[in-house]
């Protein structure tokens, strides 16, 4: 399947300019604000879970992966290998990761932690030398999304606070949708299994 058979995104795509702008320019969706509000109430009103530092550490692990994904889509977008509809999709997905990152960083801060920072792009050691075609970029992105989904799957049961687990599960769903769409775009079964691991 080629790029023209991509599932059309239902929501308005972010502009290419926003792709270049960086994570700081993202704005939170209503859902993210709602999730964050749950975290707010947890931070302010409820007794903390057994080890809040543990929850902060898990959030920071996830935040690191979001920064990695943002950088990866940047590499893809700047590769010159993505045709217009695919580039739009990459911009949209990168925008999702920016929202995730903003939510996670805000939550870490509200819980009294220090959000991890994004690495320099070169420090992610992306396999740029192997990205020769659009399909290469899409498979690379699909691998990242699958890995991120697995990471969130591992994170959900680790949170002491259920609000945080719910937020992580919400992001897990989004990463998995990305993965499926990217697989579909390169002609692979978008849902290759009944359970992810």
């Amino acid at each position: 399947m080629n790029s023209s058979s991509l599932i059309a995104p239902a929501r308005r795509l972010a502009s290419r300019r926003s792709l270049i702008k960086g994570a700081g320019g993202a704005t939170l969706s209503a859902v993210a604000i709602s999730l964050l509000a749950g975290c707010d109430s947890m931070a302010a009103d409820k007794p903390m879970a057994a080890d809040p530092a543990n929850d902060v550490a898990i959030l920071n692990s996830a935040l690191g992966l979001e920064y990695q994904a943002i950088a990866a889509y940047q590499v893809g977008a700047e590769s010159g290998l993505l045709q217009k509809p695919v580039l739009d999709l990459a911009v949209q997905f990168q925008g999702d990761h920016k929202q995730h990152a903003q939510l996670l960083a805000s939550t870490v801060t509200k819980l009294g932690g220090t959000p991890v920072m994004a690495k320099n792009p070169a420090d992610y050691h992306f396999p740029v030398e192997t990205l020769k075609t659009q399909a290469d970029v899409l498979r690379f992105a699909a691998g990242l999304e699958k890995g991120a989904a697995s990471a969130y799957l591992g994170a959900v049961p680790l949170f002491a606070n259920k609000d945080l687990a719910k937020a992580a599960a919400s992001i897990l769903g989004d990463e998995t949708m990305h993965w499926a769409v990217l697989r579909n775009a390169v002609g692979e079964n978008p849902v290759p299994m009944s359970f992810i691991a």
């Binding site: 990695q68 992610y124 699909a142 691998g143 890995g147 991120a148 591992g154």
Partner: protein, 131 residues
Amino acid sequence: MPRSRSRLTPVAASVALAVLAALPAAAPAAAQQAAAATIRMMDTFEFEPSAVTIHAGETVEWRNASRFKHTVTANPKLGSAVLPAGAQPFASAELQPGESFRQVLSVPGKYRYFCTPHEGVGMSGTITVLP
């Protein structure tokens, strides 16, 4: 009063003793020598250090120092692993936080391994085995 469930019957006790007696002989060689390299599995979905060098016949130990479950997978059929010619694929079970996995590497060359669930986010490492 009912008998305690934890009390072993004589037969079960004999079996347990026999198993315990056999354990040292059955233990893999990797468990019997000090590791030449220890690699930690991190919360950042990285192996630390990501590259190590040992000599043939030495043991590598991976310790899951993170909060997440990880694997050590060196099987080219399961992902991006690379093995020297003649080396056998190997893989750990899913390692819980705090668990370890050891492997003796006897064939010189370069090994590339990964964590099965987190390969996509770059959780991989290399081992160079010198003769």
